[in-house]
């Protein structure tokens, strides 16, 4: 049983498919620090000079200092199945990643646009389903999706917001263009690492912040709290917000405790909450106190044993009824998974056009939908170059990595695709961009991705930056921390 899926950092990332593409089969990755002629880009020059002044021994010392800080602050994640004491650190790379103000402005606009469209889609799907009636998305992709929750049909949610917190995974490919790889709309995690990476960088290298004007991100918990309060049930003037965690044994428990502490709200487990007469209360030493907004870090399936999985000991009996009655807000809403599912992902650009009447600012990774005969023919032709994913598969199951697959695997998959083309999508292997990273050999380029956190309430907010994950092993495209991935502080420069 996996009480929480969402997108923990150490989960297999969909981008791992690219890890096998050889240099010969794809273009060189975009180097964020240097241009094609080996010249350092303008915004990395100060960093280059600073790194030039630092001997490797000193960088190594600083990296050890960083590890000590992370351990002391208790920024660890629990490893399932290991001894409870084996709480691991996610490796932290001390070289920051830099994004210019111009790049960020575009990315930020693109993310805002995308999440607005996704929220509009969720609202539509759980009401009139106009987009299905217009034939822009095949209805069965939505209505037969296990992530579609009929219980949500025609429920009014405050502000018409479903995905209050989105962690959108983006990568840079080609000439540095941003692409969205995945929309995480359920219980995205990682924001505590974004905040603590900055905290540690400022403690270790205050002098570097004097050389660069970096946009602050430390106010994220304040914005998150405002955002959650803004979606409280309308009649509540002073809403009480709580964070619902599966408990101390969950791998992301540190983040739950951290965010609750930073926001100054109660960190509750299911057994701390009760529903009476359709209202939610938390059990305190002074008796039951009303709760109005639940920032949940538990999957839909486990929220309410009366409505969903009966074996869930993590949830709150009667919660769905209280929610349907509009007496409590759940963030993210129940049923958001239908919008970040792999089978829906190819249609997000279409949602942007349909709901906002705009062209997408950030593109999807080009995705072929194999139910379309042309796409099918194309894919079968180039199977050994492509990545093929089963739309309902998760965690890397049901996935073909063309460049890595054996002849037998290719043929077997070819047969499966032909038999059920509806079940598959195909994407090219991506060359993820690289950033300078401190590794054994010194400073060297390593592949990165980025997860900015998009907050939707009465308005949409994105703190400038996000969590940069870096594949520390040479040539690897796996940013997954269980496979040698680490994190970096992400700097968005202020316009000067």
């Amino acid at each position: 049983m996996k009480p929480f899926s969402g997108s923990p950092l150490w989960r297999n990332m969909p981008m791992m498919h690219s890890s096998t593409a050889t240099a010969a089969t794809r273009k060189a990755a975009y180097n964020e620090m240097q241009d094609g002629r080996g010249q350092t880009r303008q915004h990395y020059r100060e960093l280059r000079d600073w790194l030039g002044e630092m001997p490797n021994e000193r960088l190594a010392q600083k990296r050890d200092d960083a590890d000590t800080l992370f351990r002391r602050m208790g920024i660890t994640f629990a490893v399932y199945g290991e001894n409870a004491g084996a709480e691991r650190l996610i490796p932290f790379d001390i070289v920051p990643r830099i994004i210019t103000a111009v790049e960020w402005r575009r990315l930020s606009r693109g993310l805002t646009q995308r999440v607005k469209a996704l929220n509009a889609f969720l609202s539509d799907i759980y009401h009139e389903q106009e987009i299905l009636k217009a034939g822009r998305i095949p209805a069965e992709h939505v209505l037969c999706n296990v992530q579609y929750r009929p219980e949500m049909q025609d429920i009014e949610v405050p502000g018409d917001v479903y995905a209050h917190i989105a962690g959108v995974d983006v990568v840079r490919a080609d000439e540095g263009e941003f692409f969205v790889l995945e929309d995480n709309l359920r219980v995205p995690s990682g924001v505590s690492y974004m905040l603590e990476d900055r905290n540690v960088m400022m403690r270790l290298f205050p002098e570097l912040f004097a050389r660069y004007a970096v946009e602050p991100i430390e106010h994220y918990p304040d914005i998150l709290l405002d955002n959650l309060r803004s979606v409280a049930p309308a009649e509540v003037l002073e809403p009480t917000v709580v964070l619902l965690t599966p408990g101390a044994y969950n791998s992301a428990y540190f983040e739950h405790a951290f965010l609750a502490q930073q926001m100054g709200i109660e960190l509750v487990e299911g057994k701390d909450l009760m529903v009476r007469d359709g209202f939610v209360f938390m059990l305190t030493t002074r008796g039951p106190q009303p709760v109005h907004v639940i920032y949940r870090r538990i999957d839909d399936d486990f929220l309410d044993p009366l409505a969903f999985r009966q074996d869930s000991a993590l949830g709150v009996p009667g919660l769905l009824a209280a929610y349907r009655a509009g007496h409590v807000t759940i963030a993210n809403a129940i049923g958001t998974g239908v919008a970040d599912d792999k089978s829906i992902y190819p249609y997000v650009p279409e949602m942007i056009r349909f709901y906002l009447d705009e062209e997408p600012i950030i593109n999807n990774v080009p995705t072929r939908i194999l139910r379309n005969p042309n796409d099918l023919a194309y894919t079968l032709d180039r199977l050994s170059e492509l990545v093929v994913k089963e739309v309902h598969g998760a965690g890397g199951y049901g996935m073909l990595i063309g460049p890595k697959a054996s002849k037998e695997q290719l043929e077997r998959f070819r047969g499966q695709i032909k038999a059920n083309p509806d079940r598959y999508i195909a994407q090219p292997t991506l060359a993820l961009s690289t950033c300078p990273t401190f590794v054994d050999e010194g400073i060297a380029p390593r592949h990165v991705d980025l997860r900015p956190f998009v907050l939707s309430g009465s308005d949409v907010h994105i703190v400038p930056g996000g969590l940069t994950r870096v594949a520390l092993r040479k040539g690897s495209l796996v940013v997954n921390s269980s496979q040698g991935g680490g994190t970096k502080d992400t700097w968005v420069l202020e316009t000067r």
Binding site: R72, G74, A257, T284
Partner: protein, 315 residues
């Protein structure tokens, strides 16, 4: 404050205090075992310790014969015995971990490093100095843990529940120590004319860090009556029953809620009964009966505290 949070804080304190007191008892016993004495007396002493922590039957079922090594192993290091020192420290850390976000950094650091160190230590063939060293270490870690609470924790309900746990457990443990030791040392009851077994009484005082205080307060030879007075009635003696009741009354008052009226009445009654009595009155009625009654009232308070504050309220 969430009831569950209060519950974890309360139990974190109780388990830490319990581990400390068990270490204190075993330290006295191991020290005592080195002194010359009659055959059989030693066994009775270990039996007394086992029954003090309610583990005599469990021990007999498992080992049969009393042996010093086995009793120490069972009560100090046995992870399968839920009442051992090691188990108590594990439970303290489990409770701390569940409310890590509510603890200060220092509190967490101390309880976690205690636990980590416990994992690294080996308890095979621990004798003499090394054994005493272990009991000292447990006491010291408990002092550190309590010190971090008093020195770094915000004075809110969480602090009150931590202190309630400490005082409740200490009241219970001190009463048990007194009951068992006095029954052994003065089987016919404590009177003002008892001839004291000096070393044994001194060991009893030392087990509750009271020897220096005794000297300071009485400036005279050690007598059972005065020991009883010091450890039951002196409010300035940190581990005395009176001081524990006072602490309980104070912190329970601070967290009072709609349903805790009866609990507050009971602790108030207990506190004032200790405040307004004399040791000779207690001894006339019998020390054992007095301590039995005290323990029953403390256990009753523990149940009431759980009901009033700590468990899910059903409404």
């Amino acid at each position: 404050m969430l009831s569950r949070t209060a519950d974890h804080l309360y139990w974190m304190s109780r388990y830490t205090e319990r581990a400390e007191n068990l270490a204190r008892m075993l330290q006295v016993d191991t020290h005592w075992a080195l002194l010359p004495r009659e055959v059989g007396e030693l066994d009775r002493s270990w039996e007394a310790t086992l029954s003090m922590v309610g583990q005599l039957d469990a021990y007999r079922a498992r080992y049969g014969e009393i042996s010093a090594d086995q009793v120490i192993r069972f009560l100090a290091f046995d992870e399968d015995n839920p009442a051992s020192i090691v188990s108590n420290l594990n439970m303290a850390r489990e409770n701390a971990r569940a409310v890590r976000g509510t603890l200060t950094f220092d509190q967490w650091e101390i309880i976690n490093s205690t636990w980590l160190e416990l994992k690294l230590r080996s308890f095979d063939h621990l004798h003499g100095d090394a054994l005493t060293g272990f009991f000292e270490w447990v006491k010291l870690r408990s002092h550190l843990s309590r010190g971090a609470t008093i020195g770094t924790m915000m004075r809110d309900e969480g602090f009150d529940f931590k202190r309630i746990g400490t005082f409740l457990e200490r009241a219970d443990n001190t009463a048990r120590i007194l009951d068992v030791q006095f029954r052994m040392l003065a089987p016919d009851g404590v009177t003002s004319s008892n001839e004291a077994d000096y070393y044994r009484y001194r060991a009893l005082l030392e087990s509750v860090s009271a020897y220096e205080i005794y000297r300071k307060v009485y400036r005279d030879r050690v007598t059972p009556e005065r020991i009883a007075e010091l450890l039951i009635l002196r409010a300035d003696m940190p581990r005395s029953l009176h001081r524990c009741a006072e602490g309980l009354a104070q912190h329970l008052q601070a967290v009072a809620n709609d349903q805790s009226t009866e609990t507050l009445r009971q602790i108030g009654e207990l506190h004032s009964s200790l405040h307004y009595t004399r040791i000779d009155l207690i001894l006339d009625d019998g020390l054992h009966a007095f301590l039995r009654d005290f323990l029953a009232r403390i256990n009753g308070l523990g149940r009431r505290i759980a009901q009033d504050f700590l468990v899910s309220v059903t409404i």
